[in-house]
């Protein structure tokens, strides 16, 4: 089950489009950190649901979010990976 207060997602995109995508995310209350080859996107569940027009209450990661039309040309994937687990 997804934590309602914090979600990590990985965005695969064209590198030149990073500022544009980061602006788009920030406008929707989502934080982003550049990675070597993408963006780590974080925020609460409500912000993700609004930004990507999706209901995540019962979602079981991995979840592939539908990329909004305005980003479709530069973002190839936006995915919520499974929560990593400790290994005792």
């Amino acid at each position: 089950m997804i934590d309602p207060s914090y979600i990590e997602a990985i965005c695969t995109l064209e590198k030149e489009a990073m500022p544009q995508v980061q602006r788009w995310l920030a406008d929707r209350g989502l934080r982003s950190v550049p990675m070597r080859a993408g963006l780590l996107v974080t925020g609460d569940r409500a912000a993700f649901e609004t930004a990507f027009n999706v209901d995540l209450r019962q979602a079981q990661p991995p979840v592939r979010l539908e990329v909004p039309s305005e980003l479709r040309e530069v973002v190839s994937a936006m995915e919520i990976p499974p929560v990593r687990r400790i290994m005792p």
């Binding site: 914090y6 190839s76 990593r84 290994m87």
Partner: protein, 504 residues
Amino acid sequence: MSVPSEMGPGQLDEVWLPREVETSHQIPDRLYGYVSVNSRGRYSALEAEDLTDAQPFHGTQKDRRAARRAVESAGLTPTADSRLGIAVVGPPGAYEELTGGEVVTRELLCYAEAGRRRYVTHLDIVGDGQPTTLGIGKVASPSIPAEGVVLERPRLLQGIFPSPLPPPVSKFHLRVPDDVALLLGAAAVHRRGHHGDGVVVAMVDSGQYAHPFFIAHGYDVRPTVTLLPDTDPSEDPVGHGTGESANIFAVAPGITLRPYRAANNQGDLVAAIAAFLRAKDDRPQVLTNSWGGDGPYPPPGPMDEWERVWALEIRDAVEQGIVVVFSAGNGSFTVEPQVPGVLAAGGAYVDPELRLMASNYASGYDSPWFGGVTVPTVCGLVGLLPRAQYGLYPVPPSCAIDQEEARAERGDPPDGTREDDGWAMFSGTSAAAPQLAGVAALLLGAQNALTPDAVVQAVTSTAVDVRAGRCHPRFDNLAGPGIDLATGPGLVNARRALDSVLGS
């Protein structure tokens, strides 16, 4: 010296040691105290002999208000009010302003932790007209309706809890630091003066609790960086990070540990990737990770896109010169330990007769995604199925691991510790990863310029071959002479690895 026979050890203390000594210990920045408002009755609360009725010592509402104003005007902050007085906190100067006296320290011989006697720092207010009673001061101005100011006395725990020492348990287990250090060849390295001094090891995990084990050993644990809002950096809800970090110090007691808490308050590692990025950005020399995911094996196809991005991020850390360690998995199949250049920590088991075999709890396979990569790279110490209870580790009392391991499960008897004693028996490749991180730190402490590849080369070329047992049944690879898919080249050995690095 002759000692009167009727004297016990406590009394001897008093013969040889004065009850009070002068010191110049630093006065804390914030002092807690209590201001007693003038009593309605005949006697001051500070001089009262009959304590059967509190009512005569109540202050009037007017006096309480005036006393509060005076307290605030002196620079103290009221934290609670009662009908008798006001609890306050503030800097020493504020108490001096209120009383006209001077705040000083005194050392008093007290019964303290575990019934032992030691000098304990107390505070006093001294000066003209100040009472001689320790910790009591008079207000400077008669217009202030307060009988006196009381400085808080130290409240001493009557024992150290949780204990820095593990409880006695009958089930075979390894203790930290000594058994882990011995079996990994680190004890011999310590005797040669190598402790990983000053090497910074970052650990992304569930958190780090200030267990007395770490304090008693003098280990250098820096404040935890927490990635999630509304999570406490001093807490570890699971106990996993706290316990596993003891493995790093067992092998490299001189390191500086930087813990990163990726767990929410339920203990789920929801911010693992963000924590990894943050830790990487802080440029440690070693970055250890006892976590990962799980997916089908063999995988139905190539990596997902997010896995590629994530794998590149891990690879980037290696290329920046950080020794990155990931657990191989406890029967799980996940991308992290497969990333080229990562030290993937597998499991070897040493039994009570010092026989060495593959741990059937640890993953071992040929990477289907990265050519030439096998998991594990090398092994640490890991227990056996069903739940790998092996090392006895310090954890926050009553945390999830403390409770779970103390109960029988999957046909495995309890670990023999209590559910709330702050010690638990567990392992997994979660234990192996920080052990390898410790070995890497020892090598870097001796040769600061070693690259991650050189560290991998040193630990793999000198590992102790494991020739018996199988890895986790999901992969079911057999350990045999030489490199195999169950244990790689075998169990890491710090002494041999250091020799190879130093050329001795």
